[in-house]
Structure formats: C-alpha cells, structure tokens
C-alpha cells in the first residue's frame, strides 16, 4: 500500500499490509486491564484552573502553561501563577491517587476573567492535543454554540491521533460541550464512595458514572477539602485511563473506551 495515498479504501493485496498484532484475552477483566498498573509513562493533562504542583497529593508537575490573551490573540505562556481556584489541583490529585506514576501536566485556561473563556478553552485544548498528551481531563464545558463546531473538530483530531479526552457531563438541562461529543469520554457521578467503582451508562450521552460524591481532594496551600460534583468524577476516569494506557500502550481511544466499558462495575468484567 502506498503510504502517500490516503487510506480511503483497502485493495485486496493491501490487506496483509495492515495486519494488526493483537493480544486480546478471551475475556477482558480489570486484572488484565489495570492489574499492577501505575500510570508510568503516560502523560495526563489537566485543562482547568491551574495546578499546585507542590501539593503533597499532586506530587509534582511535568509541565505547566497558561493560556492568556495578548490583545485579541491567545498565547501559551509558562504558568508561574499556579492554581487560581483550587479546582485544577483537586483534579490533578485525584488522577495522581489512581495513577501514582503518571506524568501530570497543567494547562490553565481560567483566571483571565469570564470574557473570552471559550477562546481560552479552545486554545488550551488545541495546545494539549499538539503536545500529544495521552489523556486530557476537562472538568468544564461551554454553552456557547459558536464554540461547538471548533471543539468538535478538535475532539475528532484528538480521537484520531490517540489523545483521550475525558470530560465531565453537565448535570443540568442545558446544551453544553464538549462532553456531548461521541469522540469524548463523558463522565457523571454515582453516589458511592469507592474510587474503583465505575459504571457504564446504557443511555448516553453520559457514558460513564464514576465517584463524584464526598471526595477529600487537594486544594490551595496544601489543604484538602471535601467536595462533590461531576467535575471530580471525570478525573477518576482520566486516572483509570492512564492506568490502562500504561499497561497497554498504543490503545486507541475507541479501544480504551471499550475496555472501560467491559471492566465497569455493571458489565461483569469488574473482577
């Protein structure tokens, strides 16, 4: 097969060229998916309010940038501010708890005021995809329709290049993005208190439910707070994704989502 040609079709003699080495087990279980995994070698990006890398529950950051306005244009600059709310630190701490050896990166898209937030989120996501991070946690959404199409394109770019976007679902009766896109893994909360309990939802657009109730999370100044919200459920799935990818590198977002489905607490593969 000519690698210069787009793969719009598969000729008979090219079938042998796309043979894919597969070591799928007869049955996918949690032990197969994440048993012994630590997240090592996996890059997880927290697109949020910044991250306090010094917090003991975060345990260091690999990189930190902020998206800011320079006039009308957005710019990516090194982040010397850290977390402006506490929330990004909370999400990073959750990912670290589940995947202790992953590499954490922060892309701060908040802190420049409410105006233009959609542009900052878009620029931040574009940067995260360009960096080739394995997992991007987005515990945020926008209701602005004019950003939906661009977000959709970015989400598809991420999907095809192998960057997994994990987004918290909006538990309000509003149209918001990007969690509704099928190329994104969307997460809502269940009422349990076990971080290793997650459910596949047979009635999307919310695809998974993970722990989002009464979680002691990392916050400002080395503190911890007890928090509840879908925005804390998403980093649980982001952390689990890092575990799966560290044990099974090279999985596509489609394959990863299938593994999360097969090993969910309600699909029989949770042992």
């Amino acid at each position: 097969m000519n690698p210069d040609l787009p793969a719009w079709s598969l000729t008979a003699d090219a079938v042998q060229d796309i043979a894919i080495a597969s070591q799928w087990p007869d049955r996918v279980t949690r032990d197969w998916a994440i048993g012994g995994a630590t997240g090592e070698g996996v890059d997880v990006c927290i697109l949020d309010s910044g991250v306090d890398g010094e917090h003991s529950l975060v345990g260091g950051l690999q990189s930190a940038v902020a998206v800011v306005f320079e006039g009308e244009e957005t710019q990516i600059v090194p982040d010397d501010v850290g977390d402006v709310v506490g929330h990004g630190t909370a999400c990073a701490g959750i990912v670290r708890t589940l995947a202790p050896e992953c590499r954490l990166h922060s892309v701060r898209v908040l802190g420049s005021g409410n105006t233009g937030t959609g542009d900052l989120i878009l620029a931040g996501l574009e940067y995260a995809i360009e960096q080739g991070f394995d997992v991007v946690n987005m515990s945020l959404s926008t209701t602005k329709r004019r950003f939906a199409e661009l977000l959709h394109e970015l989400a598809d770019d991420a999907y095809f290049q192998g960057t997994v976007l994990v987004a918290s679902a909006h538990n309000m009766p509003v149209e918001s993005y990007p969690w509704r896109f099928s190329s994104v893994i969307s997460v809502g909360s269940h009422e349990g208190t076990d971080s290793w309990e997650w459910y596949a939802n047979p009635s999307p657009p919310v695809e998974f439910f993970a722990r989002g109730l009464d979680i002691d999370v990392a916050w400002f100044g080395g503190s911890t707070l007890c928090c509840t919200g879908n925005s804390f459920a998403a980093p649980h799935i982001a952390g689990l994704s890092a575990l799966v990818l560290s044990k099974h590198p090279g999985l596509t977002p489609f394959q990863l989502k299938s593994i999360l489905y097969l090993t969910a607490s309600n699909t029989g593969g949770s042992e």
Binding site: H87, N114, T143, R145, N171, G221, C227, T228
Partner: protein, 215 residues
C-alpha cells in the same frame, strides 16, 4: 440603536413590572432555597458583562441587607469557577481553603463552612451563580440535593433574565431621546388607558398630526 430589538425593549419598558418586582422574585428564590436546605444563607450573583464582575443581586440570611450590590471579580474564586466552567460544585469544609476564608471574611464578614454553587444558565448564556451556604448538617447529602438546587437555579436564571431584559429596556427609555423613547412612552400611555379604544384613538390622532406636519 434602531434595530427591532430596541423597539421591542422600548415597548416592553412601558409595560414592565418595576425593578422591585423582579428583585422580589429573586429574593423569594433565595429565601425558598435557604428554607429547603435549612441553610444559613443563600445568594444570587449576576454577571455584569460590562465590568466582568459578579454582583450580589439577592441575599437571604447571613449578609442580607449588606451584600446586595457588592461586586467580586468573575475570574477567581469558587463562584467564578462555577460561572466559567458551568459545573455545579459542593464543598463541605471551606474553612480549610485559606484564600477563600480570607476573601470571604474581608468581603462579607462571614466565613461559611460549606457551600453549594450552581451556574444560572439561560439558553447559551450563563447569567450568574446561585449559592447555598451552610446547609443543615442533619440532612443526608446525596446527588439529589444538587438536582434540587439545579431546579431552583432554573427558576433563578429565568428571574435574572427578566431582570436584565427589564434593565436594558429601562435604559432605552431613560436615555429620553430618539424614536425608541417615543415608542416606550406611547406604550406606557396605552398601558394606562382606561379602555382599548383609547389607544387606537390616540394613534389615529397622532397620525393626523403627523400628516398635517408633513404637508
């Protein structure tokens, strides 16, 4: 401003209930939210897009009477995060957050232990944030509590939308010039007319005057 919207707003201004009625609606929402959750306080923030600030629009309980009109930056803090990300959040031991505690003490003199905050969304626009502070501890907390608060947030969002529309409409008439103001004053006259035919008679006489002027 001569687009159709400003005419409609001008007409609306002549017929709208007072600012006080809208504020009473928001006040009743925070009063009920506070009662349902057995909370120490509840408040509604409105986003002022011109200044990018959150403004206390209604307060029930702690801070009632002092806080309405107070402004905080929209970009930082928990209310700002909720506004910008659109994500509801519940925090149970806020006093552990040193920055929040200091800012709350400086602004309001009251540092809550717990907070529930949801964005107020109307269509594409996030208009503000509804907060409930220090809900009763004897209530078993569940995700249903957030759902309940979201139901209230929907009411509050509609209330805020009405309030903002009314303010824009009044701004049109208060400028006191241009055709929008004329339309608004006519609308107000018609609103107070004793019978329906009075409005038509008024218009007919106006047309006659205008026709005469044009001759």
């Amino acid at each position: 401003m001569t687009d159709g919207n400003s005419y409609r707003e001008a007409v609306a201004a002549g017929m709208l209930p007072s600012e006080e009625s809208h504020q009473a609606l928001l006040q009743s929402i925070v009063n009920v939210a506070r009662a349902i959750f057995g909370a120490k306080a509840s408040s509604i923030f409105l986003l002022d897009t011109a200044t990018d600030e959150l403004v206390f629009e209604a307060v029930s309980g702690e801070g009632e009477g002092d806080l309405v009109g107070m402004r905080i930056p929209s970009s930082t803090g928990i209310a700002g995060w909720v506004l910008i990300t659109g994500q509801p959040i519940v925090i149970d031991d806020l006093q552990q957050d040193p920055r929040f505690a200091r800012q709350a003490a400086e602004r309001t003199g009251y540092v809550p232990k717990g907070l529930m905050a949801v964005p107020l969304v109307n269509g594409e626009n996030t208009l503000g944030v509804l907060q409930v502070l220090d809900r009763a501890k004897d209530r078993t907390f569940s995700l249903g509590e957030i759902d309940l608060l979201i139901l209230f947030a929907n009411q509050a969002a509609i209330g805020l939308d009405l309030l903002q529309t009314a303010r824009r409409a009044r701004a049109v008439t208060e400028r006191g010039e241009g055709s929008e103001a004329v339309v608004a004053r006519l609308a107000a006259l018609l609103e107070h007319a004793k019978d329906d035919s009075a409005g038509l008679r008024l218009l007919e006489s106006l047309e006659a005057v205008l026709a005469r002027l044009g001759e």
